[in-house]
Symmetry: C2
């Protein structure tokens, strides 16, 4: 990726792992000349300056974005509408605004509600980065390397905005893919949001049933794989679940239906049905790997 002829002013709202890694990657790529940043947690913002992630911590969102050519809003989905309302009216006419949220339909609706006059400047984005850590201290210029970033253009954007969005993520080392927001939300409901609900629910079933000492002794195998996501932030996942509520409910109902069939087969001791079911699952697993 060739750096732009004139290096840009980047603004990052939300100085966590996602926003911080975007800043580090674009700085390393020679893409930016100045990075302003804002976080509701002033200590996090100060740490971002100290770590060299941003050049300047601003005290309000309007000032952070006012001179920026590229703006990434990397706050939890539940907080994004408020940020949109605070950037409204403060953007340069050629600025590009992107979010990095895990749901896209709700984010687009929030943008329309809070910031409609700027809709041609907005490209919804979702970096699929498989995150196990959080906070600006964990940010890395390599986070997006060889990762996929799903862009879900609204159809109301300018060509320049879309090209800029692609170029910025590619400068981070990522691949970009385009998808309809609705399709993104339906797929992510099952590949990401549902697995989090399943892991949370497993923890609750365990909690209701057993003593901890014995659980610890037996916590190998399958449970270990569920634990990482069961440790995810409850507020963030409540907000994602509610923001993608329709698609997630449909996915959850289909999942429950599958479990009901499985329980029936198990009750009946139906070995051939179970074998067929598990073989199909393994086959899809192999296709995805």
């Amino acid at each position: 990726m060739t750096p732009p002829q004139k290096k840009l002013h980047l603004a990052v709202i939300g100085l966590g792992l996602i926003g911080g890694s975007f800043a580090l990657a674009l700085r390393r790529a020679g893409y930016v000349r100045h990075i302003s940043g804002f976080d509701t947690d002033a200590e996090q913002a100060q740490q971002a300056v100290e770590l060299g992630v941003i050049d300047q911590a601003c005290t309000d969102i309007a000032a952070t974005v006012a001179e920026a050519a590229l703006i990434l809003i990397a706050v939890p989905v539940g907080a994004i509408r408020q940020v949109f309302s605070e950037i409204n009216g403060h953007l340069l006419p050629t600025a590009l605004v992107m979010d990095a949220g895990s749901t896209k339909g709700s984010v687009i609706a929030d943008f329309h509600a809070a910031c409609a006059d700027h809709i041609h400047q907005f490209i919804p984005a979702h970096p699929i980065a498989g995150i196990e850590t959080s906070g600006v201290a964990a940010a890395s210029a390599d986070l997006y390397k060889n990762r996929t970033v799903i862009l879900t253009p609204t159809g109301q954007q300018t060509n320049a905005a879309l090209q800029h969005a692609q170029a910025a993520w590619q400068a981070c080392g990522a691949r970009t893919e385009h998808m309809q927001a609705e399709q993104h939300d339906v797929i992510l409901a099952t590949t990401s949001h549902l697995p989090h609900l399943l892991a949370f629910n497993l923890m609750q079933v365990l909690h209701g049933q057993h003593h901890q000492a014995e659980l610890k002794a037996c916590a190998g195998g399958g449970l270990r794989d569920f634990r990482r996501i069961a440790g995810s932030d409850p507020v963030m996942w409540r907000d994602i679940a509610l923001a993608n509520h329709t698609a997630l409910c449909a996915s959850l109902r289909a999942y429950i239906n599958g479990l009901e069939q499985l329980a029936t087969e198990l009750d009946a001791g139906d070995d051939s049905a179970l074998h067929q079911r598990f073989t199909q699952a393994q086959s899809l697993y192999r296709q995805l790997n």
Copy 2:
């Protein structure tokens, strides 16, 4: 662990990762003088000899165990009863027999049915080893190091048998814990067997809903954690599910019930109920780590 004064003859039935690692660990600990082995797959048995895992590959089970002081039966749960019937009447009076199966009630019932006269020589065992690979080529003398091995004594064993079982696993570097077979099966139903069913079911829901190209693009985050177990052997897990059918059905019904409540809260947009639910889950996750 001090090696026994007189080194032992070990027999291993089932020369995969579990049996092979047990042989390698005990050899390294100076615990054994000779290791005989048997596998229904003659190539696997030959490979075990070539890799130095066993000294001698036998062509039948009775001959494998006839002179052994310690016998580990590390075959899938669905094949274990047949092995018990083939060792019956061929054991030295002081020999110790252990299995390594993921279910314990069914294994004890199989032993009673096929090998009842030797019940005082039998200690049911389940090493919790978090296995991602299989086959004798993956066997390692370190597999059990710092792992927990659950022993579920029947109450009919001799003291010498129980002491020998503990000593052998400790020589492999493992901790041993005692538990009732019923309690083991109830806990493992939720910590291990249920997560496998959940991962298989997630693959099936995905398979029914989406195109693979888009799934691959979106397969970060939660899905990744489910994939490893969804790739587990369908026959092995069918047999485990059927062998632990009662406890697993109960666990599955409790799990479905939790998901139904979650779906209702999601349908109602009940943010405080979801928040409370996810917070409880994260709290148990932290206690288990």
